[in-house]
């Protein structure tokens, strides 16, 4: 498991940068016949209808669909922020049914990394503190978490922005802080919800470059977008409509992001 690897590295898949596993290897996350039904009074809304999905280690998957198609719901389920009404979710083979909210919170901080459209940094904290908060929740000591967060921000090309607060940073810089925070715990899965949605095209391109580099190094990424061009950078596109998967296709040659790779992740 990735936790045994050197600590400030995104987790490389055991088989290096091989294409999505076609079988045999255990998927990072596996959804089986998952439904999510919201009932507000007498009205029942089926947000997800009998969805099954596997994400293999080293995959770079984009979930697409118009609004209301259920992609946010799917993202929340994969991110363990929500529970399915029916069906099961397995993370690294571990069934999550019956886990308490606190168990899920602990799994999130140990195994998942979140990147949001609106960055979602803590507004009053410095970049450094934002990045080490997941470590703090995990009980990592002060010196250790400082060192790891610093190293991670340096990798993101933010060595001179450690003590700046979010409002002192550009959108691209804020998103890189968010990426650093998502990576700090060596997650087995990175979830990116419209990560370029609030960025100009240049910064957006830089974030895509970053994600592709992470994936090249073995990171498993699930990205939600409504933008075909963004999805074209990933290896696999899952299309949702009315709560069901209507297409699941692999891209033979994803577009390579062209922005200069500012962060050095090699």
């Amino acid at each position: 498991m990735s936790q045994t690897l050197p600590n400030d590295r995104p987790s490389p898949a055991s088989n290096g940068s091989a294409p999505p596993a076609s079988g045999g290897e255990k998927p990072i996350i596996e959804l089986s016949n998952v439904s999510k039904i919201y009932s507000t009074g007498p009205v029942k809304v089926t947000a997800l209808d009998n969805v099954s999905l596997q994400v293999a280690s080293g995959d770079f998957l984009s979930i697409m669909g118009p609004s209301g198609s259920g992609k946010s719901t799917l993202m929340n389920l994969i991110g363990l922020l929500d529970r399915p009404t029916e069906g099961s979710i397995l993370l690294e083979g571990q069934d999550l049914r019956g886990k308490s909210d606190n168990d899920l919170a602990k799994i999130r901080r140990e195994k998942l990394g979140f990147i949001f459209q609106s960055f979602n940094l803590f507004p009053k904290m410095t970049a450094l503190k934002n990045v080490f908060m997941p470590l703090q929740y995990s009980g990592v000591s002060g010196g250790e978490r400082n060192r790891r967060a610093k190293a991670m921000l340096e990798r993101m090309g933010l060595a001179d922005r450690l003590y700046n607060r979010p409002w002192e940073l550009s959108g691209g810089q804020q998103q890189r802080v968010a990426v650093a925070r998502a990576l700090i715990n060596n997650p087995v899965l990175i979830l990116a919800d419209e990560p370029t949605g609030n960025l100009d095209s240049k910064s957006g391109e830089a974030v895509l470059t970053l994600l592709q580099q992470l994936n090249d190094n073995g990171a498993t990424i699930v990205l939600v977008t409504h933008d075909e061009r963004i999805a074209g950078h990933t290896k696999r596109i899952v299309r949702l409509l009315d709560g069901q998967i209507v297409e699941d296709s692999k891209l033979d040659s994803p577009i390579r992001a062209l922005a200069p790779a500012q962060p050095q992740l090699a």
Partner: protein
């Protein structure tokens, strides 16, 4: 997350809105400040007075005529009270049912160390330069031990001699700075030799402004002379009081009962006297005063309640303001427990900071008021510990509900919050 991390984060949050935090803590500052101030001042007054009483002697008691003597207000009088206060002018005396023989009889009662009859009379006392009308106390040499008087110089008079003892006030009034020892005074034209000087009676309020004014006006002036000529001056054979000292503080209550029995027998089974001990008086005074202090402090404590509600109010606002941050925290792995602790620690910090500032205010107030009233400023460790403990308890009590509200936020909903 370590406990220190919670405190650090809480302090950062509190510090990021200093004015708001200060205003939120104000209720606690005022509450703790006023409760501590009232208890300190109350404690200072109480210990000053009880200290003064016990200085006068916890073995002392006083027997006064009661039944046949009507309405002379003398029952609260002790041997040490400023003479002249209850005495009628023109040589009229306060007398009643007690006699010199009663005092002699009491000396044989078990537990009695000394018993001295007292008659107070106001007389013309003439010094070398001036004549003043002051209270003259007729008594026996046992008076000194019965009332635990201290001699500044000289000795107590001999009962059969024409000798008197002054106190510092009367010595000053009659002789100024000169040494009165061996000098003579005339009391209603009869000459007496001064053989000693007592210290002035210690008033519990001696350090206060009122006490100082009394000293300056000479209201404490007194002359002590043998009982026989004093009774003649007063024109009576009855004494107004008998001052008694018990052999130890522990036997005071038992001794009072034996005195009551002895005297009642001597007075044909009529209890026409009242016995009061300093112990009883001190105890009842302390009780009344402490009740009053507790009552005032309880009223002041209401502002603590209001302060607590203020903290809860602001914490609820904070939870709403930080909904999104709570969502982020939960998404990246904060458990509900750590969210609860974070908000609880913040409420407790606000409250404890208020408590500490309140203590500071109370301490300054106690010192200032203490200077003004001449009382010892008593803010002790237990007061500090109690104030901090109480404010922490208030923070916990009023912080639980907002913290619980924060913890039960759904991260998905919280993340969508603008």
């Amino acid at each position: 997350m370590g406990f220190f991390d919670y405190i650090k984060t809480a302090l950062e949050n509190i510090g990021s809105a200093k004015l708001r935090s200060l205003l939120t803590s104000l209720g606690i500052i005022i509450g703790i400040g006023s409760v501590v101030l009232i208890s300190s001042i109350g404690g200072g007054v109480s210990s000053t007075i009880t200290g003064a009483f016990s200085g006068l002697g916890s073995t002392q008691m006083s027997i006064s005529s009661s039944a046949p003597v009507t309405d002379n207000g003398d029952q609260s009088g002790f041997g040490g009270r400023p003479p002249g206060g209850g005495g009628a002018l023109g040589g009229a005396a306060i007398a009643g049912t007690l006699s010199v023989d009663d005092a002699v009889a009491l000396t044989t009662v078990q537990g009695v160390a000394a018993a001295a009859p007292i008659i107070d009379v106001v007389a013309k006392v003439a010094g070398p330069d001036n004549t003043i009308n002051i209270g003259v106390t007729g008594t026996t040499p046992a008076y000194q031990s019965a009332t635990a008087k201290t001699l500044v110089e000289g000795r107590i008079f001999i009962e059969t001699a024409s000798e008197v003892v002054l106190n510092q006030s009367s010595a000053k009034a009659l002789f100024g700075a000169a040494d009165p020892l061996g000098q003579s005074v005339k009391i209603n034209d009869a000459p007496y030799t001064i053989v000693g000087v007592f210290t002035d009676p210690v008033s519990p309020f001696a350090q206060t402004g009122a006490g100082r004014r009394a000293e300056q006006s000479g209201a404490n002036s007194a002359v002590y002379m043998p009982i026989a000529p004093a009774l003649t001056l007063a024109g009576t054979q009855k004494v107004s009081q008998i001052a008694v000292a018990a052999s130890s503080p522990d036997v005071v209550d038992a001794t009072i009962e034996r005195i009551r029995t002895t005297l009642t027998e001597r007075h044909n089974n009529v209890q026409d006297f009242t016995i009061l001990s300093f112990q009883q008086l001190t105890a009842s005074f302390t009780q009344v005063f402490n009740t009053l202090t507790i009552f005032l402090a309880a009223i002041a404590a209401i502002s603590l309640l209001v302060g607590g509600i203020g903290i809860m109010n602001i914490m609820l606002v904070t939870v709403t303001e930080r909904t999104r941050e709570i969502g982020i925290a939960k998404a990246i792995g904060a458990t509900s427990g750590s969210v609860v602790i974070q908000f609880l620690v913040e409420a407790v910090m606000l409250s404890v900071i208020g408590g500490v500032l309140g203590l500071l205010v109370a301490w300054l107030g106690t010192v200032a008021l203490g200077r003004l009233l001449g009382l010892p400023a008593e803010v002790n460790i237990s007061t500090i510990a109690t104030a901090v403990g109480v404010s922490a308890a208030i923070g916990i009590f009023f912080g639980v509900f907002p913290a619980w509200r924060a913890a039960r936020l759904d991260p998905i909903v919280a993340l969508r919050h603008e």
